[in-house]
């Protein structure tokens, strides 16, 4: 595995009795990139993240993190890793500052790191409050602060935007972008908020039923964002045939609507074809297909 790889897995698999949660996963995350790890519930994302962190043992295959093999009980690999797995948790009886101080002591970070990360995550007003009184969003901020505290070279984040309000999501997005851009931190993150991922990542990997079924870089991701015209029309099947005859080659029916993918600059002509044939056009909107639609199509969700 090459020196510029932050995370590498080969043939990684995890089996729980009859269930193969992750199957033959070969993953390479380059140093300094932001990698989005997508998948529906039960796709194997969290299981993979747990194996990357040595929380569970693979049934087969190997994991390397920052050039070190992850083995049961071997902890040296994690000196440069900050992480957040699933829900945000903290010691409820300890204050925000004390929770971070626990992390500081365990990672050997300097004392000043606690104050720095409190400021970075805008936790100043909450610093002396017990974690049990924090809102879910603020607990998430605390967990992110804990992940960032020792200035790790690699962040492994499972749903980092969980429970955050829209402003918080943007804030975290900018924070991660800055960490990657200015500090060269590698970010490996899973998320259900696909639009958020699309705005942030350099590459995505899509997991489905335990397998990595597709990887896309930023350019490929942008190419997926197709423009189309959506039409509400009476007799959609007849309308589709009329449009095909008029030279619109990429027409798809989605329920009682039509999507025309090659209508760019030809919308007036499209409307004339339908109205001229006596069909009632009830809606005509221009939209674009995004990562979400691509993801749903790949993983068998509703279009």
């Amino acid at each position: 595995m090459s020196a510029d790889t932050a995370i590498a897995t080969r043939g990684l698999a995890k089996r729980y009795r009859d269930v193969l949660a992750v199957e033959a996963l070969d993953l390479d995350v380059r140093r300094g990139e932001i990698y989005g790890f997508l998948g529906r519930n039960g796709a194997g994302k969290t299981t993979t993240i747990r194996m990357l962190l040595g929380l569970i043992r693979p049934s087969a295959g190997r994991v390397e993190v920052l050039g070190r093999r992850v083995r049961p009980g071997a902890t040296a690999a994690f000196a440069g890793v900050g992480y957040l797995v699933e829900t945000a948790t903290a010691y409820p009886n300890l204050t925000v500052r004390e929770n971070l101080d626990v992390q500081r002591r365990l990672t050997g970070a300097p004392r000043a790191a606690v104050a720095e990360v409190i400021e970075l995550m805008r936790l100043g007003e909450l610093a002396e409050r017990r974690a049990r009184v924090l809102s879910l969003g603020n607990k998430q901020r605390l967990s992110l602060a804990r992940a960032l505290l020792h200035r790790p070279a690699l962040l492994i984040l499972d749903e980092p935007a969980n429970a955050l309000d829209p402003a918080g999501i943007v804030e975290v997005r900018e924070l991660l972008r800055a960490r990657a851009g200015e500090h060269g931190v590698t970010v490996f993150m899973s998320s259900h908020i696909l639009t958020e991922i699309a705005h942030l990542v350099d590459r995505i990997g899509i997991m489905h039923e335990g397998r990595l079924i597709e990887e896309l870089d930023r350019d490929q991701l942008l190419a997926k964002e197709r423009l189309y015209v959506e039409i509400g029309v009476s007799e959609p099947a007849r309308a589709a045939a009329l449009l095909a005859a008029a030279g619109f080659a990429r027409v798809e029916q989605a329920g009682d609507r039509l999507r025309v993918y090659d209508a760019d600059g030809r919308v007036p002509e499209l409307a004339r074809v339908l109205v001229g044939a006596g069909l009632d056009v009830t809606a005509l909107t221009q939209a674009h297909e995004d990562l979400e639609a691509h993801f749903l199509r790949l993983t068998g969700g509703a279009p």
Binding site: P72, G73, T75
Partner: protein, 261 residues
């Protein structure tokens, strides 16, 4: 030093926990209850006037003396201690799973064995402070009651017996810690401790009493029959093996098993 760093975090967690003070309050009630029984035995008339359990206390055949007082104290530290220690260790280990913080500890540049050792060290210190506080309280209450029959030899023997019972109770808890990490919570270790206490009582009546770890304290302190003066070498070996097996199993559980909390 890694151990010192981990230990410092464990002390911080403990200091902030209400359970620390609750255990002190609960354990302190023991000497107070024993002292009350002594007073009832000595003053049955006044106790009856106050509506206390004078009749039952008289029926118990107790005498209001220092030897009887110390004997009950040793029973409390031994039997109550085994339960309380199990509770403390179940809390220290189980809370990481109940509060969802275990996963925050396991992918850090800190060997997982250090967490086990630091938590057991904190439990030992906590237990030592509790036992120390309760012994001091007992002497103060006994003196306040003006119980007869005190001697320095008796006091030294009583303290030695209580400390030995407390030490054995502590040496049995790494197994409870293992159950807490295996069961990921409070209930499995507490259930285990109660079951072992019951089994210990059963085995105390058999020829296997010296070989079953949870029978040794009841046997030693006289919870069943007369107290024995020395612990059999077979029991020492059993206790030592139980302690080391418990520590090793807890470390192995954290190191090798899936921690998919």
């Amino acid at each position: 030093m890694t151990f010192a760093r981990v230990l410092a975090t464990e002390f911080l967690k403990l200091r902030r926990g209400k359970v620390t003070w609750l255990t002190l309050a609960a354990f302190s009630l023991g000497p107070a209850a024993i002292a009350l029984m002594m007073w009832i035995v000595r003053e049955p008339g006044r106790a009856a006037q106050l509506g206390l359990l004078g009749t039952k206390a008289n029926l118990s055949g107790l005498s209001a003396t220092w030897p009887a007082y110390f004997s009950m104290l040793t029973l409390m530290v031994g039997i109550g201690g085994m339960l309380l220690m199990a509770f403390i260790v179940a809390y220290i280990f189980g809370r990481e799973y109940v509060e969802g913080t275990a996963r925050n500890l396991l992918a850090l540049p800190v060997g997982r064995h250090w967490f086990v050792l630091a938590k057991l060290a904190v439990a030992a210190l906590w237990w030592a402070l509790l036992v120390g506080a309760v012994l001091a309280e007992s002497f103060a209450l006994g003196a306040a009651l003006g119980l007869p029959g005190f001697s320095a030899t008796l006091a030294v023997t009583a303290v030695r017996n209580a400390l030995l019972a407390a030490a054995i109770a502590y040496l049995l808890v790494p197994v409870v810690a293992w159950i807490a990490t295996l069961g990921r919570g409070y209930l499995p270790p507490l259930g285990f401790a109660l079951a072992m206490l019951a089994l210990g009582n059963v085995f105390s009546h058999t020829g296997w009493a010296n070989w079953f770890p949870w029978s040794i304290v009841p046997l030693y302190i006289g919870a069943i029959g007369q107290p024995v003066t020395t612990i059999a070498s077979s029991s020492v070996v059993v206790i030592a093996l139980t302690f080391f097996a418990g520590v090793a199993a807890t470390i192995a559980q954290l190191r090798w098993a899936d921690n998919a909390q």
